[in-house]
Amino acid sequence: MLRIKPDQKQRVTLTVNGKLVSGYAQPRLLLTDFLRHEMGMYGTHVGCEHGVCGACTIIIDDVATRSCLRYAVQCDGLELRTVEGLAEPDGKLNTLQKAFNENGALQCGFCTAGILMSATKFLQDNPKPDRDEIKEMLSGHICRCTGYEQIVRAIFQASGQ
């Protein structure tokens, strides 16, 4: 059994976008804050911090999920994918990101990192979704700029349909 005292800093090592990284976390440190403040990876955004808005969604061990509802100490040894890992190594946007760009699927961009990660995993599970399936997946995100239509179009385009 693992036990970590409230003020104890535990070493947490995890794989983020294929790279092994490590840092220290007290039990109450949210995974979002670990990524942003300990790892300096600001791609993952924090919106509501109670699992409703979807901005912090990342892929943990191949599951798209809220990173504000996880503690860093729970994730020792796990494999994470965040928005920083989407672009090609030379910095070129990947298919999904390009589709967002071409369809005007973002304006302020605050919700975008989370939506890109949800959509990445969603398209992996369901490579040829219909528009209703995309909308249902998107119901787990809040976007205050686009009205969602452009996002639906972008994900549909990225699926090659």
Binding site: R3, I4, P27, R28, L30
Partner: protein, 292 residues
Amino acid sequence: MKPVAFEYCRPDTLEEVMELLTEFGGDASIISGGVSLGAMLNMRLVRPKALIDINHVLELGNVEFDDATAITGALVRQAAAQKMTSLMSGVPLLAMSLPWVGHYQTKSRGTLGGSVAHADPSAEIPLTLVTLGGSVTLRSPSGVREVAARDFFHGLLTTDRRPDELITALNWPLRRASTAYAFEEIAQRHGDFAITAVAAEATVAIDGTLANVSFGLGGVEDHPIVADTAEFIGRPATRDTAKEIAEVVADIVDPMVDLQANADYRRQLVRVLGSRVLSSAFNEASAVREAA
């Protein structure tokens, strides 16, 4: 917001969970998916001394069947349950209610047991368990007990679970002969908690009358309830009977009032959605009966 400082405990076995519950009792919160508890922690609505993370207690992730029951371990995730065809065909009402639960990104982590432990009055999983007459298995350092779901939910976020108990499993009655099910709800946004959710189970006798009816209501009172429909047993399984039941029940319930809806609106939802699910279950059950 950020949670208060707590000790993090990650047991690997049920015995270790029991040790921790003996040590901390009500000062600990048990976390599985964390979809509801995580939010409560971040908002400091709960301030535990210790967080007991049961995600490594693998035996809590099993699904088993006996002759009349599907037994789902506390850690079975909502998305995984939905993909399990034996469970979905064995417990059709759960297959009907799960699509209304949460979102793609929360169901991947949220568990069946966690939703029951959290006891939101409008949550679909507790309502389904109550409507079917299922039960909850609890384990404490002093032993194991099983509580009928209808006695388990006491009120808003309040259950029969004692501070030193862990929910280990949920027991779902399997589909019965000549029986059909229906589920519906109204929420502000698909996947959000329901303003009102209704569930129905109906069994039709050879002569086309009702042999059994269970009419469950979520989001109406402060915990999921099953309406008293005893006076309707033996009545024809028709649309008129469905409408009458929904109207009678809508007049007796004592609905909650919140920012989303007043009592009259919730009563009206019980009438409209109730008559719809009952009528659908009656029709379907009659069809199953005729085919048999």
